[in-house]
Symmetry: C2
Subunit: 396 residues, 2 copies
């Protein structure tokens, strides 16, 4: 069985594949939990249908043992690598995934899917509630990271995977990897948890709360009933994204990229409030661009749901934590826990605590603290020592 969404026809003959990455890929959809076979969530609710958007790259071997499963972060989607028609606009983890890359699609069968609760093809709060024939809105059930993982496990099974060669994810993606390791380690040979945490700090929660409140208090949110009816909480979602984005990059990265440069240094002094609050500094233009493009591709309800999922995650504080950790140690999964020096969202101290808990339980853990000036988003960037370490993990 081949799950090949790669169309390699647009790669010129003679060009080394490793230099060009994947070609054109396509997102597919599958209903994993139809109305007669609903998903049971952690809070007891039943959800159906659950449709999942996913992409695959490379070919599954006959034994079903060469899968690499990619878990995405808060605002990611199934389009992890390659392109959808414009070779300049590539998937969010294209630096990591492709022929000859750290996650080598010539060898591994890569699966990336959009999260439960998302808005990029997988069932989420802006999907239609079949009972009412209208978008769920806030009627969509509350989720946990364990729920997100259950859906991905069902997808992997559906695709014929018998063993997971590697499970990889950064940020919220890394949190899913951790939960998956604690939920069902026996099937997983290797795992990458990068720029992630096993426990949001009070500051982490506070920043997410501020972002969520911008959305929840926006009159356009209309108690979650905006989907299909109006523009929605665009003001709040834009502010949430700007705030979020500042926390994804380091102070040093912003300084290096923008310092205090103004787009028009020779502009006359502002006259009054009508001309004073428009973007002036380059860093402001950058944030406006981030917000504008985010509004085009992301849904406010998914933002609320997926950030709230993160707040609650505390796997080492569960009653069954010791038992789950022991099972992971017993499975012998090789775990690489990586962090980036300038990450102030889930910085090295988060990774250290996470890795220490795994080590204490006897799991096989390699810790790597990568030096990077680019902050939390470093896990998306072509930082060579990091890419080499991921490649080594997959080869081990």
């Amino acid at each position: 069985m081949t799950h090949q969404t790669l169309e390699s026809g647009d790669r010129p003959a003679g060009a080394p594949a490793a230099d060009r990455g994947l070609g054109r890929v396509a997102t597919q959809r599958v209903v994993l939990f139809p109305e007669g076979d609903p998903l049971r969530l952690d809070n007891g609710a039943l959800l159906a249908p659950v449709e999942v958007a996913y992409e695959t790259y490379g070919t599954l071997n006959a034994a079903g043992t060469n899968a690499v499963v990619v878990c995405h972060a808060l605002t990611g989607d199934a389009h992890a690598a390659g392109h959808h028609g414009d070779p300049e606009r590539r998937g969010w983890w294209d630096v990591l995934i492709g022929p000859g890359r750290a996650v080598d699609t010539d060898r591994w069968f890569v699966i990336a899917s959009n999260l439960l609760g998302g808005c990029r093809g997988t069932t989420g709060p802006s999907s239609i509630d079949p009972r009412r024939g209208e978008p769920y809105g806030l009627d969509f059930p509350a989720l946990t990271i364990a729920d997100l993982v259950r859906v991905q496990r069902a997808l992997v099974e559906r695709l014929g995977v018998r063993r997971i060669h590697a499970l990889v994810g950064g940020s919220l993606g890394g949190m899913q990897v951790l939960e998956w390791l604690l939920q069902a380690p026996e099937q997983i040979d290797r795992a990458l948890i990068v720029a992630a945490t096993a426990r949001l700090s009070a500051q982490n929660i506070a920043l997410s709360t501020a972002a969520r409140e911008a959305i929840l208090r926006d009159p356009g949110f209309d108690d979650g009933r905006y989907v299909g009816r109006g523009p929605g909480p665009r003001a709040g979602l834009a502010a949430a994204r700007m705030l979020g984005h500042v926390t994804y990059v380091s102070e040093q990265a912003l300084e290096t990229k923008f310092d205090r440069r103004r787009r028009d240094p020779d502009a006359p002094p502002p006259r009054d409030g009508h001309d004073w609050f428009a973007p002036d500094f380059e860093v402001e233009h950058y944030l406006h661009h981030q917000a504008d493009s985010f509004l085009q591709r992301f849904d406010a309800l998914s933002y609320l749901y997926l950030t709230r999922v993160m707040d609650a995650f505390a796997p080492f504080e569960r009653d069954d934590a010791a038992e789950r950790l022991a099972a992971l140690a017993g499975a012998g999964t090789e775990v690489l826990v990586g962090s980036f020096s300038s990450d102030w969202r889930f910085g090295p101290e988060h990774s250290d605590r996470l890795a220490a808990a795994l080590e204490a339980a006897g799991a096989s853990v390699r810790r790597r603290a990568f030096s990077s000036p680019w902050g939390h988003d470093s896990f998306l960037l072509p930082i060579d020592p990091y890419l080499r370490e991921v490649a080594a993990l997959l080869e081990a």
Copy 2:
């Protein structure tokens, strides 16, 4: 001439004054620039009337040489110390100012005024524009920190002050102190600049932009015409305050105070979005409280104006910087530049750059890096080494 707003009658005889602080005080108002004598702003605009709300504590000596002038931060006001009727609700710098305190009101004549552009009694964008008989809104002129200082200089002169014994301020207040030192150092004997900066970083600007955009994009902002017409951009202002507040406290402070404690740890798991986004963690309750009380006392237009004033401030990059610095060195003013270890808004590196520029020009500077876990807001807190250093500055 006595400017005594202290009502000491509510201090019980026998109780040491130093233990109780100032008693009841009152805010006063004065028109400094009437319609016939407008204030000329940096951008060339003329503004009148300019009314200023201020408080004074203690008594001006006959020579007019014992004044301590207090500059407030972004969301402060003229009510720096004492109380307005409820002894439990005290001015924002009460830990510093009072009988026997670091700024000893038994010896010094303390002046604190609300900023130009503010909303706590001094003329600002929500004041009535006399030309139109309506609130200014965005027609209110753009301001600079130099403009804010000009108004305070006019107040100090009006009150009969000949020399300023000490000029003190934290954060935006410290930026005003710095500008005042560069604008008119000859009258100032001592100055405290604490938790301040001479140059916002790209990250500082980005955080302020995110907060402003929450307000500007809120439909309730209505292009600044909400004053007296509607509730205004309450959603945006609340989100801005929550975001801002997270940056005023350190990660460690939030961790110590709140960790991941939930108000109701035994609550059943959330069912859906209707019950999932209400405050749950204690840190969320705290932020909601901060936002609610802020909405009751602060105006969104003033928030926009006063944060934008900070963005533009870069006194050492002006063409006349060397000349102004030389004048400060020549005046011989003693400057104490203080920072707090956990401040991530205007941390020690901001103070160090500021102090280094003053030192390089030959000014008399003492640098103090105070250890504190409480972040930017430390300058408002009773941190003994800091209070002692301020007391020593005033005694020197």
